[in-house]
């Protein structure tokens, strides 16, 4: 690809995507400022590099352009800069199977996947954190560093102390967050707390696991489902008991993604999770539900996995029933007056209206 055709192609891409994104953002009450525009430009350029390296063109019929539009909207609304150093956001390709609307035909498409780097979450925290003025350089505290936790003398905060040695693995992350009233808050996340993320990750990856009890989770009977749930619960209890050492246990390997397990990426994954555990729990004020939704979609693993499950399984198999003039499987009875079989008689409890049918407390759905 020559320099001139590259820039021309990229300009065309910008020209086709920009109006769409601006229209969507404006329609959701978001003004696209200059920095958002710059974020979109750098994202398009980064995506172009990824596509180029895979030999995919923007006009490729196999490329899912809707997904690119959605990514660029997220980038613009969350103000994530793909050209920042360290990176705030990265892009990669993946193959996805897409069902042709109204048919059972499956076609494979190339999709661009966006991931927010640790520094992207820091940028979101700086831009949207409630009452946050800025986020100072974070501390990656290693096992051999000297560190003291923050403490209080009455209302006065004694800040944490840290003397880096550069030795050992990262055991905690400290975020000094400068608030708008010029106070400094220190948010700390521990390595051992990442076990919660690992348990959630394994739980997500076990979604379709049946342990050989049933052909698949949709064909499992009620009793089989109970057995599967029990097995899953046992696995997760074991993982919790073992802690992060579970990453090296063969027993759990099939439910753990390579990014968690592989030696070259494990440490950065654990650090990223520690950082996310801090940045996610600091309240954000996006000031716009659309931006909030994009944020959720980008960083919330639960949201992402629920979306993935729905995309993979919804509206998939055709089922049908037709009226038949037969009594096969007929349950038809003549309505009759009250009549109990003695051993099956229901206790005539007078239930208050607020009481659930079942005596267990879990039987009522919370109102919302």
């Amino acid at each position: 690809m020559t320099e001139s055709t590259f820039s021309t192609a990229l300009t065309k891409v910008n020209d086709s995507f920009f109006p769409m994104i601006e229209k969507q953002l404006t329609g959701n009450g978001i003004k696209m400022d200059n920095y958002s525009k710059q974020c979109v430009l750098t994202a398009i350029s980064s995506i172009n590099n990824v596509l180029d390296s895979k030999g995919i063109t923007w006009n490729d019929a196999d490329l899912d352009k809707n997904n690119i539009t959605q990514i660029l909207i997220s980038v613009a609304s969350l103000k994530l800069n793909a050209a920042a150093s360290p990176r705030e956001v990265y892009f990669q390709t993946r193959n996805v199977s897409v069902k042709k609307q109204g048919t059972d035909d499956v076609v494979w498409k190339k999709q661009i996947e966006m991931g927010i780097e640790g520094d992207g979450n820091d940028a979101i925290l700086s831009n949207f954190g409630r009452d946050v003025q800025s986020v100072a350089q974070i501390w990656l505290v290693r096992s051999e560093d000297a560190f003291t936790y923050p403490s209080f003398r009455g209302l006065k905060l004694e800040p944490p102390t840290w003397s880096p040695t550069g030795k050992g693995e990262v055991v905690r992350v400290v975020y000094p967050v400068i608030k708008k009233n010029n106070t400094v808050e220190y948010h700390i996340s521990e390595r051992e707390d990442v076990i919660k993320n690992l348990v959630a990750h394994i739980n997500n990856n076990m979604m379709n696991e049946t342990f050989g009890i049933a052909q698949n989770r949709f064909k499992a009977t009620f009793d089989e489902k109970k057995k599967i749930a029990k097995k899953k619960s046992e696995v997760l209890s074991k993982v919790k008991a073992v802690g992060l050492a579970a990453l090296d246990e063969e027993e759990f390997a099939k439910w753990i993604s390579p990014a968690w397990k592989d030696p070259q990426s494990r440490e950065s994954m654990l650090i990223r999770k520690m950082r996310n555990n801090v940045t996610k729990r600091i309240p954000k004020d996006f000031g716009n539900a659309f931006v909030e939704m994009n944020y959720e979609a980008s960083v919330d693993e639960g949201f992402a996995s629920a979306r993935q499950e729905i995309t993979d399984n919804a509206n998939d198999e055709i089922i049908d029933v037709d009226y038949e003039d037969s009594t096969t499987n007929s349950y038809t009875d003549q309505p009759e007056t009250e009549q109990y079989e003695s051993q099956e008689e229901v206790k005539e409890e007078s239930q208050s209206e607020k009481e659930p049918v079942k005596t267990t407390p879990a039987n009522d759905e919370p109102p919302f």
Binding site: A289, E296, I318, Y331, V346, V357
Partner: protein
């Protein structure tokens, strides 16, 4: 011709009366028995059966009273076990195994909700009408042919929910549960797009959340998408 009457819809209680002119059924019995009686003009003996989707109280509150009135109640084994009720009027039906009540042939199918064994029901009658009843599910695995009536949950909209979470009106933990238990407007729309609606006469949107829905918006968006008559239960 199917007549649909809403006796209750939402987390306070769900109950619907459907009739094809020959056989009358109740879908759910999650409201006070007195209100069910009123809803059917005290003609409980006209009701040929009651279909129960799952064990939550807002779907089966009056189950014992309904069975006591001599009405067979149909549900999955999982739901029956979770309710821990034994009665000769309680009929356990199996996933994707059709059964018949009067002029209705009914196919139970599995749905996705955070309970033991929830079902949706596809009902075909002698007159050639086909009704889909699906509530309390965050998506439907299946597509359907020749539907004439759809009664489907449309519990919340992601944008309304996000607004409420931002404003502190809805706790953020609610979102995680909703994502994997109830049908959102966005996913309901995908469901309609995936199905053949050529014979469809009516759409009933059920179980709207009190706080995370917008009746007018839901009705407008589904009407625009489908071009069909949309009613809010």
């Amino acid at each position: 011709m199917i007549d649909i009457q809403v006796l209750g819809s939402g987390s306070a209680g769900n109950c619907y009366r459907i009739s094809d002119g020959s056989t009358t059924l109740l879908l759910e019995c999650g409201i006070r028995y007195k209100d069910i009686q009123k809803g059917v003009q005290f003609k409980m003996s006209d009701v040929a059966g009651c279909l129960v989707t799952h064990e939550h109280g807002d779907h089966c509150k009056s189950l014992k009273d309904v069975m006591r009135a001599g009405i067979d109640c149909y549900m999955s084994s999982g739901t029956a076990s979770a309710l821990n009720i034994h009665h000769h009027r309680l009929k356990r039906v199996k996933n994707k195994e059709p059964f018949q009540i009067g002029t209705w042939r009914i196919l139970p199918f599995d749905v996705q909700h955070d309970v033991s064994e929830p079902y949706g029901f596809l009902l075909a009658n002698k007159a050639g009408d086909k009704l889909l009843f699906a509530t309390d599910t965050y998506y439907i695995k299946y597509r359907f042919k020749d539907l004439t009536h759809i009664m489907v949950e449309c519990n919340y909209s992601m944008s309304v929910l996000n607004d409420n979470i931002l404003a502190g009106r809805t706790p953020s933990v609610m979102k995680g549960r909703l994502l994997r238990s109830h049908f959102s407007l966005e996913n309901v729309k995908e469901f309609f797009k995936a199905n053949d609606l050529s014979r469809l006469e009516e759409i009933w949107l059920l179980h709207l959340s009190d706080s995370n829905s917008n009746e007018a918006q839901f009705k407008k968006e589904i009407m625009q998408l489908t071009g069909k008559a949309v009613y809010i239960a």
